[in-house]
């Protein structure tokens, strides 16, 4: 019976342990004493320890990060917690979700003095509820080795994808479940217009385009340059080739993949930060936004998140020489995206999947 007793004792102890000490909930409303700034963000957020430590040293506050899923899931949680915010600041709204965020009325205006250094074309909110932090282009990547081996020319424009020799080569993400997937769909709407994008996708369908749920299964599951898959063209980011070099441990001195940068073939995602309504730490939150836009944080962005800093004063790391910038990305306004997103996705689903 002793063993039984012991086993049961462990059970009870475990249960007690899991219910026992609860960490102090919610940021403390008193501005005195040690303070915590909570930053809610998406899973792709990353930064250097030293950079965060510098902010903590400057302000005397601790920064806590709440990662809350992909951009959509994180933003929805921020909206659901309106009135009792989970955090002081939210980072990671992009221009495809911009209108949803603004309409939900969860951000407080704050005109950071550092915004003066940021190009005005990245600013989308005249009331400064959301400030631009970084931008990146969703582009097609192709497997250089594959095209070289077959002695074929990689695509240069969107129209190239519908040629017969491109049959069965492309994998894209479903715009209904993926952020780069939606961005690429928006790029095609921007390039071909309301009248033409469905025809383009119908041609892609006839050309045997493969659709995956998200970026991970497209890149790691189907893209021939990164997996056992057999698709040499994928919807990814213009910085992915540079990341391939950086994360190859010296194996590559130049990218194994290339970008398709033709006119309107890419879509520019801009990411924003804002102060959540109802925060008791407004002063700290303001400092955090100034800090995110300052060169110290901005120079930390490229290697951690593989996007470009919004502040042109920030110097880029060497490997970003491989991160190409499309000269003419497709331009579609956030209002347009918000008003038409569902209709475009439905039309796309109708055209490509049925």
């Amino acid at each position: 019976m002793k063993r039984t007793t012991l086993f049961f004792l462990i059970l009870v102890l475990l249960m007690a342990a899991s219910c026992g000490p609860r960490p102090t909930p919610a940021p403390t409303p008193t501005p005195s004493g040690p303070r915590t700034l909570t930053v809610m963000t998406h899973d792709s957020f990353d930064a250097s320890e030293e950079v965060i430590a510098q902010f903590e040293a400057e302000t005397g506050a601790t920064v806590k990060f709440l990662k809350s899923g992909d951009t959509g899931a994180a933003l929805n949680q921020a909206i659901l917690s309106k009135g009792a915010p989970l955090a002081d600041v939210f980072y990671g709204v992009d221009n495809t979700f911009f209108s949803r965020a603004i309409q939900a009325d969860i951000f407080e205006p704050y005109a950071s003095p550092v915004l003066a250094d940021i190009p005005s074309e990245l600013e989308l909110d005249p009331q400064h509820r959301l400030s631009p932090v970084d931008f990146g282009d969703v582009c097609l990547n192709y497997d250089k080795a594959w095209f070289q081996e077959k002695g074929r020319t990689p695509p240069a424009t969107l129209d190239d994808l519908t040629k017969p020799e491109m049959k069965g080569l492309l994998v894209v993400e479903n715009p209904a479940t993926s952020s780069p997937g939606l961005s690429f769909l928006v790029a095609t709407v921007g390039h071909f217009g309301e009248d033409g994008y469905r025809d383009f996708w119908a041609e892609l369908r006839d050309n045997d385009v493969l659709v995956t749920a998200g970026w991970e299964d497209a890149y790691w599951g189907q893209f021939s340059a990164a997996s056992d898959g057999d698709r040499p063209i994928v919807v990814s980011y213009a910085t992915s080739p540079a990341a391939e070099v950086y994360f190859s441990e010296g194996k590559y001195t130049e990218p194994p993949t290339g970008n398709v940068l033709g006119d309107g073939a890419c879509f520019r995602q801009i990411e924003f930060v804002g102060i959540l309504k109802g925060t008791p730490n407004r002063d700290l939150a303001e400092k955090w936004i100034d800090f995110m836009l300052s060169p110290t944080f901005q120079e930390d962005i490229p290697l951690h998140m593989w996007v470009f800093p919004a502040n042109p004063q920030a110097e880029l790391p060497e490997v970003f020489q491989f991160a190409e910038v499309p000269s003419k990305p497709a331009r579609v306004s956030p209002e347009d995206i918000d008003q038409n997103r569902e209709r475009w996705i439905e039309a796309w689903t109708e055209t490509v999947l049925h």
């Binding site: 709440l66 994180a74 995956t212 056992d228 990341a243 994360f247």
Partner: protein
């Protein structure tokens, strides 16, 4: 049929050994409070916000939902693929459950531990394993295309990759069997192991064929565990998400996938809530049917210790039976795991290296989110330990009360305990955000929420593995103890608990698995800074580059090892008094 009638009469007597009413109410309150706080309250909150934002039911957003053939098709697909997957899983795993219950052979515990690992693996990782085996450029295609004779290759159509399972129904079904095989093996096999083999032997002596002895003696005795396990498999397939989304591709959608799309991508909460209600309604309906059915099939059992029931295979036929089953298990369940481990060791250079594993403990970019692998393992184990503790405690109380509750109350409560398994994770996750915002329940961003949410998924496993055994405890045993002067508490402690030991272990294994694999709503809530192994795997999968992918596979391999070691450790308890009696 005679024994059954007798059983019914005897089962009625269970009420004789009932508790004082006040204590019973108190005991009921423990699991019910848990469900009320962490299931019903969050669910109610998100439904109220979604369907009645201004306090009044606003159903305009739902108009047209019922009439849309798309949703009817989705519901239909959800149901039939789950039923079909469950049937296939049963067919694949039942022979193995028999072999595991009746025969002793070398490497049995290790094999059993290995077959449970698929349960915890992330779909992305499983997809990688399947692609490297069955993909266009996978092993199977390479082998088939390597047939030496060119004419034979052409004749069979093997001159191009013959197997192409990307985004097909076949791969969905295959993945469901791969994931849920262990539920049948462990729940049915564990129950079977304690059945008295002499009953079947007696039938054989009386002239029954082996098939008839199984059909008329063993199967009726096995039925409670069989149906309970099938039910769990069905519910897992019914709420299938990653498998459908990633392996099945965009043409397939279950209710769970559609709820996720509506809630996360479109932020159409009313439709998401309506579909969630439909999903919960289906689960409840199924459970009510099951509870009624179960009432009729429960028979008092003569349970026997495992040393008596299992033996070494003796005849050539028996050895073949064991051999074929073990080979099938290795091919279906172990080879994909090995292919993952193999890939985590190959860095593109010839030969194998531990480079990706070494890289795991280097914070090259001094990232603030870097987690040393051991810390991730520790975090995972803390959550898993807490989940096992909570789920076993709550599960024991619930199962014990339910076993005694034969009336209407029991028929109503039993399904309630299963509901969390048939509830969309994203709905519940969003419910937590809305509901758990105020003290004392301000748990939205607290690590405590993690084991609580895992327990919701683990609890049905514990209850389902315990109930058939508790219900099957022969009333005579309890009565004898009572007659000898034991209190109800002591009867439970000295009669019930030792007999249910084996089922308790099965429950513990699943609770551990559910938590290690990060099932349930925690995927959709803001995570505290206690990253577990699956969280680390996702972080690596989020960026391009060979090192990131290599590290994701290395971490997955570590997760498999931790999982296997955990199972073997839990199984050690069997050698204590508890598993045997």
């Amino acid at each position: 049929m005679e024994t059954r009638g007798q059983g019914d009469k005897e089962r009625g007597r269970i009420h004789l050994v009932s508790l004082p009413p006040l204590l019973r109410v108190f005991l009921y309150l423990i699991p019910l409070t848990f469900l009320a706080l962490f299931y019903f309250y969050p669910l109610f909150s998100i439904f109220r916000l979604s369907l009645a934002p201004e306090g009044q039911l606003a159903l305009t957003a739902l108009r047209g939902l019922v009439s849309t053939p798309y949703y009817v098709r989705t519901l239909w697909f959800t149901l039939w693929q789950a039923a079909f997957s469950t049937l296939l899983t049963l067919l694949a795993a039942l022979p193995a459950a028999y072999v595991f219950a009746r025969y002793q052979f070398r490497g049995k515990s290790l094999l059993q531990a290995l077959t449970t690992i698929p349960f915890i693996l992330q779909t992305m990782v499983v997809a990688a394993a399947f692609t490297s085996l069955l993909g266009h450029r996978g092993w199977v295609n390479k082998i088939l295309m390597a047939i030496p004779s060119a004419t034979l290759r052409a004749g069979l159509g093997f001159d191009r990759p013959p197997i192409n399972l990307v985004h097909t129904l076949v791969i969905i079904l295959l993945a469901h069997v791969f994931y849920n095989y262990t539920i049948i093996l462990r729940m049915v096999g564990g129950f079977w192991a304690n059945l008295n083999p002499q009953l079947e032997a007696a039938a054989r002596t009386l002239g029954a064929s082996p098939w008839r002895a199984f059909w008329e003696v063993t199967l009726p005795l096995l039925r409670p565990a069989l149906i309970a396990a099938s039910l769990l498999v069905f519910l897992f397939d019914f709420t299938s998400f990653g498998v459908i989304l990633i392996l099945g591709g965009p043409r397939y959608a279950t209710l769970e996938v559609e709820i996720y799309r509506q809630a996360v991508n479109l932020f159409n909460l009313p439709v998401a809530a309506a579909l969630s209600l439909l999903q919960i309604g289906c689960t409840f309906g199924l459970m009510v049917t099951y509870t009624r059915l179960q009432k009729r099939i429960t028979v008092p059992l003569q349970l026997r210790p495992r040393q008596i029931t299992a033996r070494r295979p003796r005849t050539r036929g028996e050895r073949w039976l064991v051999g074929i089953n073990v080979t099938a298990m290795i091919l279906l369940l172990v080879v994909p795991l090995l292919s993952l481990a193999e890939r985590s060791l190959s860095t593109g250079q010839p030969g194998y290296s531990l480079a990706y594993y070494r890289e795991l403990s280097v914070n090259r970019q001094s990232s603030i989110f870097f987690v040393p692998p051991l810390l991730a393992v520790r975090n995972s184990l803390i959550f898993a330990g807490a989940t096992v503790g909570l789920a076993l405690t709550l599960g024991l109380i619930s199962a014990w009360l339910l076993a005694r509750q034969q009336g209407r109350l029991g028929r109503l409560l039993d399904p309630v305990f299963m509901l969390p398994l048939g509830t969309s994770a994203v709905t519940l996750g969003f419910g937590y955000i809305v509901a758990l915002a105020r003290p004392p329940l301000n748990l939205r961003a607290s690590p405590v929420l993690v084991p609580l949410a895992h327990t919701l998924v683990a609890l049905p496993f514990v209850v389902r593995s315990l109930l058939p055994v508790i219900r099957g405890i022969h009333p005579h045993l309890r009565e004898a103890a009572r007659v000898l002067g034991a209190s109800s508490w002591r009867v439970w402690w000295e009669v019930d608990l030792p007999i249910v030991g084996r089922a308790l272990l099965v429950g513990a294994v699943f609770a551990f698995t559910v938590s290690l694999g990060e099932f349930g709503a925690t995927v959709f809530v803001a995570r505290p800074q206690m990253p577990t192994m699956p969280v680390v795997i996702y972080r690596f999968l989020g960026q391009p580059g060979a090192i990131n992918y290599g590290q994701a596979l290395a971490m997955s391999t570590l997760l498999m090892i931790v999982c296997a070691v955990g199972f073997l450790a839990i199984e050690r308890f069997r050698y204590g008094e508890i598993g045997e009696f």
